[in-house]
Amino acid sequence: MRLPRFSPTFYGLGLVLVVLAILAPALPILSLTFLTSLLIYVALAYSINLITGLTGYVSFGHVVFMGTGGYALGYGVSALQLSPLAGVALGGAVGLVLALGIGIVTLRFRGVYFAISSLVTALAALQIVLVAPALNDGQGIVLSVGFQARSVFYSIWLIVAAEVVVTYFATHGRLGYGIRAIKSDEDAARALGIDATRLKLYVFMLSGLFAGASGALFAWFTSGVFPYVMFDLTFSLFMLAMIIVGGMGTNVGPFLGAVIVYVSYWYALTVPSLLGLAFAAIGVIVILVALLIPEGIVGTMRRHFPGLRGILE
């Protein structure tokens, strides 16, 4: 059988995912839980990578999509009696619509102005959820769906797989060139006839879709939604740190960054003397990467070893 011509990393990522899917039923529940939470962060990293990594629009408030996605599942499961899986779909849909609404307005702003408006949107969303009567007045919603470790795992697996495919197509071909042109110089891209407004909105909506679905999944995984958890800016910071470390806009960077950041964070949590310093260490890593290798691990490897370019694309 002849394989279609995709890059080696694409096949590599696919292989990792397939191995995970095959291993999952055999794993003890603790490892499966760890793997699930890791994959949630991988999914979040891929989602922010679509907008921040690909177009260079830094979204500090990306947690807003995660939070609304989680609340969509919470509301759907508790008030509308949906199944959790339908709740995840609802979360994705709500994330997509919210990204459309926010994106139409804020994607006009460039650079720091977009970053700040995304930040205040997330903060305002938290304040609104805190007082929304339909969402239990900010008291949170406890879900009684039970702990379905395997269904949760395979759902997040599916989300990550979809994200890898979407990221691949958004970095290659005609679409990829258009998006890359926007990142390098938006005005020049427009002059060349690229419909930057529409392209940015599309990737932002996809980003919102995946962040919403991942947020819903997080709510399912933790059996509840609480405003200060679902809209915790720490998630935004985590997502950003992951793609910064791994390499913005690359196909394998978010996966690599998420694994590095999450595993070191998780390790620091198990060592009592390091508690609290885990995030500080992540901060130092982010500073060093931003100042010394702003393209992240994958981007820097691509720059210094041109021979690897065919593999890393």
Binding site: S117, V120, L123, G283
Partner: protein, 299 residues
């Protein structure tokens, strides 16, 4: 019996007084943003450090926040120089315009700094809030009652902003800073050392920020904690955009607008939703400003 009118009047007075402090807290961000075109994402963390400075000077030496503020300002000068040479110099050196690439790198690097400071502070100070026992009494004016501490702090805030304005418009170094902020290449042509000017502006910016942090403690009497920066930083971002980066009076106008929104909106809605709604409006006011007056509402 308190009538609705005097409640609104009282809230308005609080709003104006708190707005003055917001203004000076945002002023440091405004200065750095306006001159170097870099947005310091760790701004809130420097506010928090300023507040802790005031707390420790109070705990160790019995200083009130007004006495601690100038000491904080001196510490801020040093911190600003370190910050400039540690974070901004590599990116700004030799550049004649600040590109989106530079913006992105500095956003991300200062974001890492914010993560670092806030988590180090959490593990050193613990998340339990602390406070400064300082209560100089209350002045009554008609139906209004105004805390003396907040009056004094508001006066100092306005004085600091006025002093920066005078410095930037009436002194040689101030003119050099303004020249740099307008056109780096032209400033170099007339013999201005870009590194020196940018470093001075950054140091003054962080100095004002930490001074503001000390003054802010009057408004959060028992709420000094490592996470307070994450509340005030977004407010400062909105204030600076509202006033227009680089416009000194912009911080004052923006600060007053936000102070009034945050204090007056709760008077018009149910008490249970007031505080949240006021904050949501204060944050979202940024969007129409960016859409319709992207240069800020101050001319």
């Amino acid at each position: 019996m308190v009538d609705a009118g005097s409640v609104v009047l009282q809230d308005l007075a609080y709003g104006i007084l708190e707005g003055c402090v917001f203004a000076v807290v945002a002023h440091g961000l405004n200065l750095i943003w306006g001159v170097t075109k870099v947005v310091n994402v760790a701004h809130g963390e420097f506010i928090m450090l300023g507040a802790y400075g005031a707390y420790f000077f109070s705990a160790w030496f019995g200083f009130n926040p007004l006495l601690s503020a100038p000491i904080d300002a001196l510490i801020g000068l040093g911190a600003g120089l370190l910050f400039y040479f540690g974070f901004l110099h590599r990116e700004l050196r030799g550049k004649e315009t600040v590109t989106l690439q530079t913006e992105m790198v500095t956003l991300v690097a200062t974001f890492g700094l914010a993560l670092f400071i806030v988590n180090l502070a959490t593990s050193i100070f613990s998340v339990n809030p602390v406070g400064i026992p300082w209560n100089p009494g209350v002045v009554r004016a008609g139906s209004l009652s105004l805390p003396v501490g907040s009056l004094e702090v508001a006066a100092i805030s306005v004085a600091v902003i006025a002093a920066t304005h005078v410095f930037l418009t009436r002194t040689y170094l101030g003119s050099a800073i303004r020249a740099y902020s307008q056109d780096i290449a032209a400033a170099q042509l007339v013999g201005i050392n870009p590194t020196f000017v940018a470093a001075v502006a950054t140091a003054l910016g962080l100095s004002a920020t930490m001074l503001g942090g000390a003054l802010l403690t009057v408004w959060v009497p028992t709420g000094i904690n490592p996470l307070m920066g994450q509340t005030f930083a977004p407010i400062c971002f909105v204030i600076v955009v509202l006033g227009g980066p680089g416009k000194m009076w912009g911080s004052l106008v923006g600060g007053l607008v936000l102070g009034v929104i945050i204090n007056v909106v709760p008077a018009f809605v149910a008490p249970s939703v007031g505080a949240s709604l006021a904050l949501a409006i204060a944050f979202l006011v940024l969007i129409p400003v960016l859409l319709f007056a992207p240069e800020g509402i101050v001319r």
